[in-house]
Symmetry: C2
Subunit: 164 residues, 2 copies
């Protein structure tokens, strides 16, 4: 029988893992050529969103107190900068590999956390604010980042060929 | 001081309400003409997604045991059927109004639920399955529907004019 705390954590982490899996399946199903295309006319390219999601997830390592980011310089490339701003972005192969590496690293850390750990503050909130707003905890970061992932996953599905 | 149960309900409901607000702001900022367009070439039109989100949210009323759906016939039009399948869909004005009506109705019901109510089973899971899988509760439905909304919100942003 799960405690209520264990249940909350399972609900939030299940949603995270399902969306990682769906996004991973989509990336795996797309060729490099398809991923190089714009999601919609004039919008971000698939390769940019692959880098963007990797950089945002990589930043979760320090935010959750799980360690240093693996690709700290990608935040500037794929979050601070818009698509097509920089001439030098990593290769598709490197990006595909790093997407998996970051998510695997997060999953490994997640599996070692006790339920109570998830209700501690994350590192983007101060001690003072957390005392007043205890919902700004590590699990809340997972809920928010899952929604962020779902948002971009909806866009990335447009890279799949139309069924006519 | 909030109980942990209250805290978790707040985390999930905050994410829901934020995404409803963002989507509402986006719909309000788009003209009828813009909402009539396809999100991306050959994909769903904005008007279909407006109906789709309304129908999915309307179905949450019976799933959460909060009452009958307000527009039961829209499920067939906007969920079972793909876009452009039916000649007779409601007008943009009716759809815009119903989107607000459904979400307001949900919000009113949500505000009357006690934290413990959210951990009861929803109506798409059997008693037997719920006994084995207690995470399939009402709050989990909110988490899943928030991700569904975020997924389509990401697509709907493409209806906004490009900043060139």
């Amino acid at each position: 029988m799960k405690t209520q705390q264990e249940l909350f954590v399972k609900m939030a982490l299940d949603a995270w893992h399902i969306h990682i899996q769906r996004t991973d399946n989509l990336f795996n199903s797309l060729s490099d050529e398809q991923l190089s295309k714009e999601i919609a006319p004039g919008r971000n390219r698939g390769i940019y969103l692959l880098g963007h999601l990797t950089a945002i997830h990589d930043r979760m390592l320090p935010l959750l107190g799980l360690g240093e980011p693996l690709y700290p310089e990608w935040y500037e490339l794929f979050v601070t900068s818009p698509d097509k701003a920089s001439v030098a972005i990593p290769t598709m192969g490197d990006l595909r590999q790093s997407w998996k590496k970051v998510n695997t690293t997060l999953a490994e850390h997640f599996s070692t956390l006790a339920p109570a750990d998830w209700f501690q503050k994350h590192n983007a909130v101060s001690e003072e604010d957390f005392a007043k707003e205890p919902h700004r905890n590590k699990l809340n970061l997972i809920i928010n980042r899952t929604n962020h992932l779902a948002n971009h996953l909806g866009q990335l599905t447009f890279l799949k060929p139309l069924n006519r």
